[in-house]
Structures are given as C-alpha cells and as structure tokens.
C-alpha cells in the first residue's frame, strides 16, 4: 500500500493502482471516457488529466500513471477544468451532436460530460465526418461519425472476447474503428463492444429507437440460458423487455455477456408465447379456463401411474414443489435432462467426491496456473466462463491445455495446446494420464490413503500408454508431457462441460477425471479442482434439489420406455421439449404418442406441447421469483421484471394449486420454500433471499474423495463411416434460444461441420444440403466446411426444431453416419 494525497485528502492505495484507480477506490470522481474496469489502461481520451505536485504541476493522465508514495494530486484545479473543456470542444468538433435521434442519449458519457463541464459552444470549426453508417447488421449498428476513438471496443474484443473483429483503421484525422478491409462485421456478436462504447457509435440494433434510456425500468436478474449464471439487467418498458443494460459492477464477470444473454431476450415477450391453457377436445387443442385445465390434470394425477420430466430451467423452489406434486401423486419416477446429462454429477461425482457438485468455482479459473479443458470447448458451451479462460491465459499467463475430439475457439489462445483424439476415446486418454502420473511416482502424497487407491493402481496396471496413444490418435510424448505438466503445476483446474446433447460427458468420464485430479492432488485448494459445467441456468439446482430418480425410481429413458409400454399412464412434462432435444426422435415421439395422458407446461407450443392432451402456459424467468444455482453452485435470487404474459402462471403457482388439490400443504411463498431448502439441502444452510442479496452466495461443497475404477469403453469405429458429434453452438443454448431473435440472426439453422479433407473426398461444397444417415434415422443439414474438424469427424449443434439432429443421433457417445448429397 502507498500513501498519497488526492484533493487534500490522505488516502492509501495498492502499489499496483493507477492514480485513476486510487481516486475511484476513495470515492473521488475523475471524468474519463476510455476506461473500463476490465480493460488495461490506454490513455486515449485525455479527460482524466490531473496535476501532480511532484511533477511540477504538469498535467498527466490519471488512468495510465501509477501511484507512488507521497504523491500529491489535484484533480480539479481551474487549469485542469479549462483543459478538460478544451478536450471536450475538440471531441465535439467533428461530432454530429445528433442527440435527439441518437439512442445513446441519456446514457452517453460524452453528453454527460459536456453537460457537467457546460461546454455550450465551440471555439473551433471544422467539417463533420461523413463515414458510411452500417445499417445492415441485424445486431450491431456502427456509426463511426460519433466515435471518439477511445478504443474500448477494439480492446474488449481483443483482451476479453479474444475475437479481434474491430480495430483502428486508416490514419490521422481519417482514423476510425472498423473491421478488416473495412468490411462488414461478422463476429461472435457478444455485444461487448456495444456495452462499453461511451457514445452512440455502436448500438444494439434490436433496440433501435425502441425507447429512451431514462424511461426504462432496470431490473437486475440472472441470465436464463446457460449454467454460467451471469447477472444481467433487463430494460423494461410497458411490460416489455426491450433490451439488456450493461452494468460494469454486476457479477463476477463485471457485466460481460454472450450473444444469448445480451441479444436473446426476445423470447420473453415473443408473440408466440402461450397465453391460455389448452385442452385437447375431439383431437384438437382448444383454449379453456385454468379451472377446467387443472381439474383435468388433477384427475389424471389422482389416477396413478404418473411420471414427470422437467427442464433444468425451473427455479429451485419450483423443483421442490414439483417433487411434492409427484410425491402426492404417489410416484417416484421423475427426472430431467434426458437422465444422462446430469449423470456426471449425480453418479460420477457422487461416487468420486461423495457429493453431487463441482469442487471448484468459475472464479478459480483466473486463480489457477494450469487449465485442462476436456472434450467440449468450454467457450462454446459457456461463453462468459470462456472469457475468464481468455483472461486467465492472456493476462495471467495461465497454461491452457485442451483434450478434445475437435478444435475449438479456446485452442486459438496464445500458448494453448490442443490434443486431438479419436471420438469416444476420452476415458482411455484420461486413464492414461493417471497411469503416467502413477508410473512416474508423481502422485500426491495423500493419494495413497484415499479409498480405492489400490484398486485403481491395479486396474491401471494393464493400461499401456502406448496402446492408448495408438488407438486415440495422440502421441505418447504428448500424453506424458500433459500428465507431467498437470501434476507439476502448483494449481491446476480441470474444466469439463456437460449437457443434453454432449454424449460421452457422462458419469464414467467424470469419475476418470476425478481420479486424475485426486491422484495429482489438484483438489480442495484455491485455483485447483474439477469444474463440471452443467448446461442450463439451473441444471446444478435441479441436481441439488434432487430432481432425479432415487434407486427405486425410473430415469428419463425408463420413463419414456414406460410410456411406450403402457406402464406410465400420465406424463407431466414441465418446460422440456424431448421431441427435439432427447436422443432418438422416432422413439421419443412414439412414446409420447402412446402415453394415455400428456400434460405439458410450456412457454411455447413446442413440438412436445403440440402432442399434449393439456397444455399449461407457464412463465419465463423474467416473470417469476426464485433462485437459480449456477454451475459452480452460486445460488442467485431472481425477481420478476415484468407482469405475467396473458393468463400464464409460473410453474410455482401451477404446482402450488396442484399440491393443494392433491391434499398437500400449500406453499405460502417462494421465500418460505427457499427457507425450507436452506434447512434441508447440504451447502444451502443459512441462506435466505435477504442474505443472497444481489450478488448471490456460493453453496460450499464438501468432498470425500474416492477412487473409482473406470474402464474405458471399447472402440466402436465402423469402417467407411464418419463419427457424428453433437453439442452446443456458441450462439444457442438448449432449444429455447430458437425464440430469441439475436441468436437466430446469427445462427438461424442447423448445419454440419465437416473437415476439408472429407468435403473434398465426398465432393461436398459449402452449403450443400447433406443427408446424414445413421442406424437410427436421418436428417438433412447444410454443410459447413471448417478447418476445426479432423478427418472422419463431423459436428452438428442440436438446438433446432427445423432440422432436429436427434433423428439421426441416438444418444450413444459417437454416432456413426454416412453422408449423401
């Protein structure tokens, strides 16, 4: 800490702080245009000029000057104010000053400073800029006439997003921000640049002219898409969510969002939302009142042989109530996420760590020295967690290794090393890593005292690294090097995403990974551990609330089998769309067709809802109160931003009525249900809505490590066929993002990624419509030729109803397919 004097106040600041940061920490405001907390100092705008007595009263930029002991700083002398006024005059010289039609008005740093410093005229005269405005992009409008060249957009896109779409182009007075060769913007559309732009040069096009900043009600909430659990602020007017608002103080990610969170909010007020309950009469769904619909549902629930499937997007409170509904209906058969998407936690971690949660958190990423990302690219599945990885690697020099069956964005980071393996061989590879550690006597001291150590030793004794290397397509040296680097790192973290369509991210892989981490002793301390990132915003919550079958209950696949065979008479599906997202569409649809009564509560008339006997219109996350638990067990409180759409009711209310009709105890409010959760869920003790506040709280994870013997599955390779991998696209999450305009602008339909070599061999060119045929069926997808796939491997995202991949994909780790034009 150093001591210094700012504006006659004695203050202290850390040695690494700049004058600007020191002032900010002590509540002294220095005006600035080119600064953002997350970015490195740049010194472009010249607004933050201050005087330092030791520097003979020269005016120096506060944002790039580090503090030194005994500095005496003045931030607002008449000279400085004069200088700042001139800076503003110069900025406004070529600026269009079209505030009345500029969407930034009211939230514009330049406008605010001009007002604060009372710059009413301009001593200088010059022509205004005449840069062409980019109106064509569906998500980001670029008007470089308003740009003040602060460089924030280019810096955030490079430093945090690591895409590098924007940069300064041209020189001198002609300098502007643009894309390569001044072309169109074709990037990830995370909107980070829009969020940091201090003026109206970069604007969110979906929000264009919709409302003024000051007329929006700002409601803080949590993103309803993926398990990263980003905090976001919704801008609401007239009961409509019109935009998302940037708040650089929000969450661990300091307001950063991905394209789904920032531009995918339109599903909330979508025209397609269901507004009335519907009951099937004479073969068609007709609108009915809630009483009639619920009478019907209660009748069916009382009839017995009930089972339930749920989405992982309900709140924790709703999961508790849903379980109660099932209990009162006398059923133990309930599950979510097809039954296997959570098995890494509920089976894998349960036996390896004695708990169903990850012994690491997202903030650990930046505190680690060594990251190992396994299988799916964590950036594509959880983009904002991906930003953390970017920053860890680029700013902190964290070593990044990736073990995957395809290249991903993370592999492009400086120094990142990707070990590409044959699809389906990841468990063998992870076991080989453990084997190298064992053989090299690099195992942590405590490992030998962990339960199951000798069994592991024994089971790995017949594992030959050479043999694994040969079948996995990875060199022996690479395996040995990775294992040695991992065990030698002081702090090492394994990141591994799981989800509905990421087959192979299962309990076996989870246990193999856990073995590796326990063996190397990389667990239980800050910056080390295993982070299993579950897919949806409340996947971890669904697991924590126990919304999966106990020993004597049926899991999702058994429930569907039961529907097909007639043992399940009534199936209650809340928010899930199995027809599109569960493996094997034909089988799933046949089962749903067969079941006597299908009850669906949904936001939209999804493919599944369209088959239902009764459809209950439910509420989105923006209309309800409750808690979500993020992938790293951050429990966060959400509050309604808008009133309920139409006659829709939250699942909380629906389950509440059902509980009372079934003779149970009616829940008073979600707060009381949460206090019940706090009293009986491990890790949630002491939590309450008030205690969670805006930032939420981590539910601590207690681990009891144990080694579990995991056998690698045999190779299933089929000659002459390609390995089909499924997973998440960067722009989508689950099937809900189909109703978000932003994601659909960027990525409107399914596609098949294929290597150049395979494309050439099969004479396939870009955008050719391919028929992908597997043993279980076929689907038509457009070809996308990319360098990221290796020969013999193709990839497709699973989100789209229009070309639902589960027609060909049946849930096995690797689906072997043939391609036809």
């Amino acid at each position: 800490m150093v001591n210094l004097t700012i504006d006659n106040r004695q203050v202290t600041a850390p040695k690494t702080a700049t004058i600007y940061e020191a002032a900010e920490m002590n509540g002294i405001k220095i005006p600035i245009l080119c600064h953002d907390k997350k970015l490195k100092p740049f010194g472009a705008c010249r607004m933050c000029l201050v005087e330092v007595e030791q520097m003979k009263g020269r005016q120096i930029p506060a944002c790039t000057t580090p503090v030194t002991e005994g500095m005496i700083i003045h931030t607002a002398t008449p000279d400085i104010i004069k200088a700042r006024k001139m800076v503003l005059e110069l900025l406004l010289l070529n600026h269009p000053i079209d505030c009345p039609v500029c969407d930034k008005g009211g939230d514009c740093d330049l406008q605010n400073l001009t007002y604060d410093y009372q710059v009413n005229g301009n001593r200088f005269t010059d022509e205004k800029f005449h840069h062409q405005i980019d109106y064509n992009n569906p998500l980001i409008e670029r008007d470089m006439n308003r740009c003040i060249l602060c460089g924030k957009c280019a810096r955030i896109c490079d430093e945090i997003v690591s895409f590098g779409a924007l940069t300064f182009i041209d020189r001198g007075i002609e300098t502007k921000i643009g894309c390569e060769f001044d072309g169109a913007l074709n990037c990830e559309f995370c909107g980070s640049c829009v969020s940091v732009c201090p003026v109206g040069s970069l604007l969110a096009r979906p929000f264009k002219f919709k409302a003024r900043f000051w007329s929006l009600t700002k409601q803080k909430t949590v993103c309803g898409y993926c398990g990263t659990g980003c905090n976001l602020t919704l801008g609401v007017k007239d009961n409509k969510v019109l935009t998302t608002i940037y708040d650089q103080e929000q969450g661990f990610h300091k307001g950063q969002l991905c394209v789904r969170g920032r531009f995918g909010y339109q599903f909330i007020n979508s025209e397609k939302r269901l507004t009335k309950p519907m009951l099937r009469k004479n073969g068609t769904l007709v609108a009915v009142g809630w009483d009639e619909a619920l009478d019907f549902v209660v009748g069916k629930l009382k009839g017995g042989n009930v089972a339930a499937l749920s989405t992982a997007r309900l709140t924790n409170e709703e999961f508790v109530l849903f379980k109660k509904v099932m209990e009162l209906s006398g059923s133990k058969d309930f599950d979510h996420s097809a039954g296997y998407a959570h098995s890494a936690l509920t089976e894998g971690f349960a036996r390896s760590f004695g708990t169903t949660a990850s012994p690491a958190t997202i903030p650990d990423i930046q505190k680690s020295n060594f990251l190992l990302v396994i299988k799916s690219d964590a950036y594509e599945t959880h983009p904002v967690a991906g930003f953390e990885i970017n920053m860890a690697v680029k700013n902190k020099g964290v070593v990044l290794n990736i073990l995957s069956d395809k290249h991903g964005k993370l592999g492009k980071l400086p120094g990142a090393k990707t070990l590409l393996h044959v699809p389906g061989s990841e468990i063998a590879l992870v076991n080989a890593l453990s084997k190298v550690i064992l053989d090299g006597k690099k195992a942590a001291g405590i490992a030998s005292s962990v339960v199951g150590y000798s069994q592991l030793e024994q089971s790995l004794s017949d594992c030959s690294v050479e043999a694994v290397a040969a079948t996995c397509g990875v060199s022996v040296n690479d395996i040995i090097e990775l294992a040695n680097d991992y065990s030698a790192a002081e702090k090492a973290l394994i990141v591994f995403p799981v989800g509905l369509a990421y087959p192979g991210h299962n309990a076996e892989l989870a246990s193999a990974i856990a073995n590796l981490a326990i063996l190397a002793g990389k667990i239980g301390s800050e910056g080390s551990g295993v982070l299993c990132m579950s897919e949806k915003n409340n996947s971890q919550g669904a697991v924590d609330m126990g919304f999966y079958p106990s020993q004597d209950g049926k899991n999702a696949q058994q429930i569907l089998d039961g529907c097909a065979s007639g043992t399940v008479k009534t199936l209650f599906i809340a928010g899930e769309n199995p027809v599109v997202s569960y493996p094997d569409r034909t089988k799933t649809a046949a089962a749903l067709d067969k079941v006597d009564c299908l009850i669906v509560s949904e936001l939209f008339l999804s493919e599944t809802a369209a088959m239902a006997d009764v459809v209950l219109p439910a509420c989105s996350f923006a209309e309800k109160e409750g808690t979500f638990t993020a992938a790293d067990r951050r429990v966060q409180h959400i509050k309604p931003a808008i009133r309920k759409i139409g006659l829709s009711r939250s699942d909380f209310e629906i389950f509440g009525v059902l509980i009372s009709r079934l003779g149970g105890e009616v829940p008073v409010s979600s707060a009381t249900v949460f206090s019940e959760i706090a009293s009986n869920t491990s890790g949630y003790a002491g939590m309450s809505y008030a205690a969670l506040g805006e930032s939420g709280a981590f539910a601590p994870v207690d681990i009891k490590p144990a080694f579990v013997d995991v056998k690698a599955p045999g190779q299933t390779r089929q000659a002459g066929k390609l390995a089909l991998l499924t997973g998440s696209s960067l722009y989508h999450c689950g099937t809900m993002s189909q109703y978000g305009e932003g994601p659909m602008h960027v990525c409107p339909e399914g596609y098949l990624e294929i290597s150049r070599k395979d494309a050439a061999n099969n004479k396939i060119s870009e955008n050719d419509l391919l028929t992908v045929t597997s043993a279980s069926g076929s689907v038509q997808l457009k070809a996308r030729i990319t360098p990221r796939m290796s020969e013999g491997v193709v990839f497709t995202p699973y989100h789209f109803s229009s070309a639902s991949v589960n027609q060909a994909w049946n849930g096995t780790e690797v689906t072997w397919v043939t391609l036809n034009k």
Binding site: P100, V101, F209, K210, R212, W214, S215
Partner: protein
C-alpha cells in the same frame, strides 16, 4: 367613517361601468382576439413535407401530465421519426413545457381554444390531427 360612504363609493363604480365598453363577448357571434403567445391546441410543425418531429421523446419526458405518447419508427433512410404522436387533451394542462423542451422546434401551441367534444376518444389528438394545417 360614515357607514353609508363605502356603499356610495361602490355604487359610483357600478354606475361608471354602465358607460364603459363591456368586457364580455357575445361568443360565439363575437370572436375573441387571441394573443400570440396564447397556449391552445398543439400543432406539429412541418418542413420538407413531413413533420419536423424526430421522436426524441423529450416532450413525453417533460410533460407533467404525462399525456403525450410518442413511438419512434425507422424510415427508409434509417432516420428516426414519430410513427405515433398523440396528445390526450383531457389530461393536458397547457403548460407549454413540451414546446420548450423540443430541440428541433417541431411542436408549437396555436390559438385554438375550442376543444369541446362529444366522446372521450375525440380528445385524443393523433399525429394526423395535430399536423399543422397549411
């Protein structure tokens, strides 16, 4: 003072008025002379054959009666214009703040004061009705 004096004084004033020009008008036969700065019904100024209003939302923001509804739209040149501009005259208090707030001189107040009507809907002046009549 003599109690009769004030009464006499009062009657004198009354009497003097009998010989002055009356203040009242025989409305509607006689029309008042409306002052230039009178704040009557609003008009939207027109220039280049379209309303000058750029839908900046400053008038609905400043309006103390919250009776102005503006909805912005994007025209073919990607410019902002008022797709909807409505004033609910039943709520307007004729304060003139809207005129003062407008940065582009798009709205003014006319001398028209006869705003009586038969139904509530008729008091909502749409953009069409507000556009200045040439």
């Amino acid at each position: 003072m003599n109690p009769i004096t004030p009464i006499i004084n009062g009657l004198k004033i009354t009497l003097s008025h009998l010989f002055k020009k009356p203040v009242t008008l025989q409305y509607p036969d006689e029309r008042p002379n409306v002052a230039q700065r009178y704040r009557g019904l609003h008009a939207l100024n027109v220039s280049h054959n379209k309303a000058k209003c750029v839908a900046c939302y400053l008038c609905p923001t400043v309006c103390p009666a919250k009776c102005i509804t503006v909805e912005a739209g994007e025209d073919a040149n990607h410019d902002k214009y008022a797709e909807k501009y409505e004033i609910d005259m039943l709520r307007c208090i004729f304060c003139g703040y809207c005129v003062e707030a407008c940065p582009v001189d798009a709205i003014r107040m006319t001398g028209q004061f006869e705003l009586a009507n038969f139904s509530r809907e008729d008091f909502v002046f749409t953009k069409e009705r507000l556009l200045e009549k040439k």
